[in-house]
């Protein structure tokens, strides 16, 4: 129902809208978001987009060059690999696998990390102090190194590498959540809620969490770019997803063997990872500077 407006009302965007407006100011970030959206479409609709099954071997058409080369064929746009699999389909599924898995890992790590971080942030004492110290030194170890160590223990394989990376991502979320919650606990609005008699659970979910969403999104995009790089690095090193599964890092290391004959076997999966990480980073940067701008106002 349209509201009758007599006076020129002042428009007050919500903080989230504010961030979005600031985000839209940056063209680069918006382009990044578009690209990320494109990859997200691939993740969801890969079976519809890919022309062939990614592991199906067309044994009569081995190593066909991409369509734009003299003896390429339009049936296989990016050509076929050395066992006759359609490269375009493998790329599409590869994006689905790499990005999809990374998203799941980040969500999982976020869930666990925020839970532990909130607990740590709202409690005090010797116990939490020892925990914090250990956590700090643990946090200094890069995620990929932790992941490699965990894979070394669990054994090589995609599922193991997924466990490894999500475990490795958790400490960052713990740390950030803990610091954030600690800071917020000192603020007046929390004190007000406490005086109103809110218990700790209520305090966290109703009072603090809504203020944390933006921080979590920024932290999430950072974790996402790390997760993509890590999972493809493990795949590339042969510690994660194993051939013939269409994971971009694994595809890259497979492509190495035929690099002299078809340089596209290195160029394509590699640039897919690169563009994916780039778009995530652009969005992350955009969000961060949008947040910074809002805080300054």
């Amino acid at each position: 129902m349209p509201r009758f407006s007599l006076y020129q009302e002042e428009y007050h965007p919500s903080p989230l809208q504010h961030t979005w407006l600031a985000f839209r100011q940056s063209h680069v970030a918006v382009i990044g978001l578009w690209i990320l959206g494109f990859f997200a479409t691939l993740v969801v609709f890969a079976p519809l987009i890919a022309p062939f099954d990614p592991v199906q071997q067309h044994t009569d058409t081995l190593l066909i060059p991409p369509a734009w080369e003299p003896n390429g064929s339009i049936e296989h746009l990016f050509g076929t690999d050395s066992v006759g699999r359609d490269v375009l389909s493998r790329l599409v599924y590869g994006c689905r696998m790499t990005l999809g898995i990374s998203l799941i890992l980040v969500l999982l790590a976020m869930l666990v990390g925020v839970a532990i971080g909130a607990l740590a942030g709202m409690t005090r004492g010797v116990r939490s102090s020892v925990l914090n110290h250990l956590l700090d030194s643990l946090l200094a170890i890069p995620t990929l190194l932790i992941a490699i160590i965990i894979v070394a223990i669990l054994g090589v394989g995609l599922v193991n590498s997924m466990w490894a990376i999500s475990l490795a991502l958790i400490p960052q979320f713990v740390h950030n959540t803990r610091d954030f919650v600690r800071n917020e606990m000192k603020k007046d609005y929390v004190t007000a809620a406490r005086l109103d008699g809110a218990n700790k659970v209520h305090l966290f979910f109703i009072t603090i969490l809504p203020n944390m969403v933006e921080m979590l999104v920024v932290q999430g995009t950072m974790a996402l770019s790390i997760a993509i790089l890590d999972i493809s690095a493990l795949g590339f090193l042969g510690l994660g997803a194993q051939a013939p599964s269409p994971e971009l890092g694994t595809m890259l290391s497979e492509g190495l063997k035929i690099a002299y004959m078809s340089p596209s076997s290195i160029a394509l999966p590699g640039s897919a990872i690169f563009v994916m990480v780039l778009s995530v980073n652009l969005v992350g940067d955009g969000l961060r500077s949008a947040l910074r701008n809002r805080m300054r106002q």
Binding site: A243, Y260, M261, L278
Partner: protein
């Protein structure tokens, strides 16, 4: 936008560009020490080929560190004198007398200084080590002598006698038409008895096989697993003084990396170029690619000790389920011929008219069902982790076979380990089926039939099918009694028919042998009868 920006950044780094230029231009290849670098494909299992039948081990030691009593001439395949300057065979074919060469010096290294040159004691020691189970060195370093036991040579020789310092007499229990050839293979190397005695006194017997002493053109300097083997010229080599000052094996497991190193000149020669890489090598003028039909066979062996692969019908069904022609095309890129039996076409006992198993998934499915293999049955295919002439890419082949098996309702898992672990577990029979092969050590057909499928070869670890048939063993033993090639051929053809029925393994391909090296390297010839030789190589 972003890309031009990145270019901008690099342009802003004059210091970096300077560094690049500095390092790029100052290198002068003439400053390198004299020597040959060979990119080899894996780690040897020690430096004594008696103990190990793998090509990597004999490549690293047989012709570099050691000599044999006799050698094969790489061109004609005839047995020619080496440490034995001449030999006599008695009328009944049971006694062999060898006259040994005088004044052949053993290597002098930081860990051993020889006091005498080569003589009959060294021959006695080298042969008795693998022949006599109670020899003090027999059980050192694992104590398995796969080549000799798979051929039953330890039982054929009844006596090795020292006539005088430079004359040795060997007595056999029965005539063996392939005996001289066996003593000329990569595995029949001559070790130093003096060094062995010295080590026995020090209580470090196993060093005999890890810090080797021989009479070959190069002496051992250093070995770092996964990295390199370093040899130096043996200055008193008995044949000639031409060998390069240094010989380095740069251990590089990935064949694409080996080709890359060959292209950048980091290696002068490389082992086993993958078939897909041959055109790349041929295109380059500064590289040479030699090709020779190889004495080898690549196959897919079933572990007949494990149900359901103990059933010949199941094995036949699996053989029908794969399209060999496509496998050949995809894995060997046309540089191999289809294998119908164990023997390659270049062998004199090759059976011309033998029919091949055809590709017939429908029949395969029916056979499987008749023998109680339900759809969804799962098995594993072991794919060897290294490239070999007979199978340049077992992994890829396994993936293709996986695809074929899926069409007949079988789920195949591909299994692979690091090479030495792989073979160790294979020997224990932990596999369902395996993609592997065999390169012959001499041109005799017995060298295919016996090591691959005889009962004895199960224990020595070359019978990958774990298949033992008295009928088959009787046939191949019988063949050795005859000296007439026609008679022998007829017997081997009977064996072919038996194998066709039993299908313990599916022969896949006989590959050509390739060798790639820089044009500046002279004198590197393909040795069809085994390991590579660097003694005669010269670098311009």
């Amino acid at each position: 936008m972003t890309f031009s920006a990145s270019g901008n950044r690099c342009g802003g780094l004059p210091g970096l560009a300077l560094l690049l230029l500095l390092a790029g231009c100052m290198g002068n290849p003439d400053d390198l020490p004299d020597g040959v670098v060979y990119c080899s494909e894996g780690n040897p299992n020690g430096f004594n080929p008696q103990l190990d039948a793998s090509g990597t081990t004999s490549d690293a030691s047989s012709h570099q560190i050691y000599d044999r009593l006799m050698d094969f001439d790489p061109q004609s395949g005839r047995v020619v004198p080496a440490l034995a300057s001449s030999w006599l065979v008695s009328e009944d074919g049971l006694t062999y007398t060898f006259q040994l060469r005088k004044g052949v010096a053993f290597h002098q290294t930081p860990y051993f200084t020889p006091t005498r040159s080569f003589n009959a004691d060294d021959v006695l020691f080298s042969i008795n080590r693998w022949r006599q189970a109670d020899h003090p060195y027999h059980n050192v370093s694992g104590g398995t002598y796969p080549y000799f036991t798979s051929l039953g040579l330890n039982n054929i020789i009844t006596d090795v006698r020292r006539v005088n310092g430079y004359r040795v007499e060997l007595t056999l229990s029965r005539p063996d038409s392939s005996f001289l050839a066996n003593l000329a293979t990569d595995f029949s190397v001559i070790l130093s008895a003096e060094y062995a005695n010295q080590l026995a006194q020090q209580g470090e017997k196993s060093r005999l096989d890890t810090f080797p002493i021989g009479t070959g053109p190069f002496k051992f300097v250093d070995y770092k697993k996964d990295r390199f083997i370093r040899y130096a010229k043996h200055p008193e080599y008995w044949r000639h003084d031409r060998a390069p000052q240094n010989l380095i094996y740069d251990i590089t497991t990935s064949s694409s990396l080996r080709v890359a190193k060959l292209m950048t000149g980091e290696c002068d020669a490389m082992a086993l170029p993958a078939h897909s890489e041959l055109p790349t090598i041929e295109q380059r003028e500064y590289l040479v690619l030699d090709e020779k039909p190889g004495l080898n066979v690549g196959f897919w062996a079933f572990n007949t000790a494990r149900p359901p692969f103990d059933n010949p019908k199941v094995r036949q069904a699996l053989a029908l389920a794969i399209d060999k022609n496509t496998l050949l095309e995809a894995v060997y890129f046309g540089s191999a011929v289809n294998a119908k039996s164990l023997l390659p076409p270049s062998s004199w006992a090759y059976q011309e008219g033998l029919t091949d198993t055809s590709y017939n998934p429908v029949l395969a499915r029916r056979l499987l069902e008749e023998n109680g293999i339900e759809p969804g049955f799962s098995m594993n295919i072991w794919a060897m982790p290294v490239e070999r002439a007979y199978n340049p890419n077992a992994r890829k082949m396994a993936e293709l076979i996986q695809g074929y098996l899926r069409q007949v309702g079988i789920e195949a898992n591909i299994v692979s380990y690091e090479w030495s672990t792989f073979r160790q577990r294979l020997k224990q029979g932990l596999h369902d089926s395996v993609l592997i092969g065999w390169s012959a050590d001499n041109g005799d057909p017995d060298n295919f039939y016996r090591p691959l499928l005889s009962c004895n070869a199960i224990n020595s670890g070359t019978n990958r099918a774990m298949w033992c048939s008295q009928q088959y063993d009787a046939l191949i033993n019988d063949a050795l009694q005859h000296t007439d090639p026609d008679q022998r051929r007829a017997i081997y053809w009977q064996a072919n028919a038996l194998l066709k029925q039993e299908m313990p393994l599916v022969p896949l391909a006989h590959a050509f042998r390739y060798q790639a090296y820089h044009r500046s390297l002279q004198g590197l010839v393909i040795n069809p009868f085994g390991a590579i030789r660097f003694g005669e190589v010269e670098k311009d």
